[in-house]
């Protein structure tokens, strides 16, 4: 079954998910992983969908065009090559951590922190941000789930990430993800 990455963004209003998913159902498509949320008043959809073999990126786009038109969505469809995908689980020798960052908003917080994660050989697996506060005092809140290499020293990797955050003047807390299997 060919799989496609589909993204859609438009001013939030009721019926967007029902409209998009309805067009997929009409093509016998299967909505696999997805994330959908409101970003600054815009409803954003990012999903991976598997389609019957006869469906192409072009026919999928055509089938979604009426929905995009109705809801004013900016839509994109791209075929996915499965062999390029890596599993979401931590690679061997890497452990999962959660990083919380918050502080006065400024340019470069996401880049500064994620560049430090990349520099220590870590990988961002999930990330969410919120711009809150007032126009006069905007506050940026970012939460990341990352994997960090266990060698040579996860504490040193954590310290580097925290140093990068502090250089941006934002508060940063890093703690290991603890998952209890019950």
């Amino acid at each position: 079954m060919p799989r496609y990455a589909l993204s859609a963004v438009g001013a939030d209003r009721p019926g967007i998910v029902a409209g998009v998913s309805g067009a997929l159902v009409d093509l016998q498509g299967n909505l696999e992983d997805s994330t959908m949320t409101i970003l600054q008043g815009h409803f954003a959809i990012l999903l991976v969908v598997s389609m019957p073999p006869e469906v192409t990126a072009r026919s999928l786009e055509s089938a979604l065009a009426p929905v995009a038109e109705e809801f004013g969505l900016v839509l994109s469809v791209r075929p996915l090559a499965d062999e390029q995908a890596t599993p979401a689980q931590a690679a061997p020798g890497a452990s999962p951590w959660t990083i919380a960052v918050h502080g006065a908003d400024r340019v470069g917080i996401v880049h500064g922190v994620t560049a430090a994660v990349a520099e220590v050989g870590g990988n961002v697996v999930d990330l969410g941000t919120h711009l809150v506060g007032s126009d006069q005092a905007p506050v940026y809140v970012m939460t990341l789930r990352v994997t960090l290499p266990e060698q040579p020293d996860p504490a040193a990797a954590v310290a580097l990430v925290r140093t990068a955050a502090e250089a941006l003047g934002v508060h940063c807390t890093v703690h290991p993800d603890e998952a209890d299997t019950l």
């Binding site: 994330t35 959660t98 502080g103 006065a104 999930d126 990330l127 969410g128 807390t173 703690h175």
Partner: protein
């Protein structure tokens, strides 16, 4: 006994560890009254820590009286220099904070907690708290270490805007 303004993130006092209160003096007793008065001024507020009102001292007030999630309830109380003696049985629930008015988040915290500290009369207290009162105590103790609930949220998709959706 003034009601004090509550400081918001990213005010430095809110994100910096506070200093011990030590011996209970007039200033500490005035701080206890301010914490209680400021907490009571907001009907939904079940706890307030000294750094939230701009005082970088290890003191907090909690009152979960009448809250639907409360099991143990010690009424309104203030503790100075709290120590967590034991904390077990983690549970996850949604939290908000007067210093982070725009967001809520899911936080896992122990639900059976023994906390010791000094009360405003200078007496040592040891309290067994559970469920929502335990969550409130641990949330306030975090404030004394310069931490807010955002530092403990369960993941990127466990932070929620408080604004009402259209």
């Amino acid at each position: 006994m003034p009601i004090r303004p509550v400081l918001l993130l990213p005010h430095p006092v809110v994100v910096t560890p506070s200093a011990p209160v030590g011996a209970v003096d007039d200033a500490a007793q005035a701080l206890a009254r301010d914490l209680l008065d400021t907490m009571r001024a907001s009907p939904a507020c079940v706890g307030l820590a000294a750094p939230q009102i701009g005082v970088a001292r290890r003191a907090f007030a909690v009152d979960v009286t009448g809250h639907r999630k409360a099991r143990s309830c010690h009424g309104a109380f203030v503790l100075f220099d709290p120590e967590i003696l034991s904390a077990t049985a983690p549970a996850t629930d949604r939290e908000g904070c007067m210093s982070v008015p725009d967001l809520t988040g899911d936080v896992s915290r122990p639900s059976l907690v023994t906390v010791a500290g000094t009360d405003p009369q200078g007496r040592r207290q040891v309290l067994e708290v559970n469920a929502f009162e335990a969550r409130a105590v641990l949330h306030e103790v975090d404030h004394l270490d310069g931490l807010v609930f955002l530092d403990r949220v369960a993941g990127p998709h466990r932070v929620f805007p408080r604004k009402v959706y259209r």
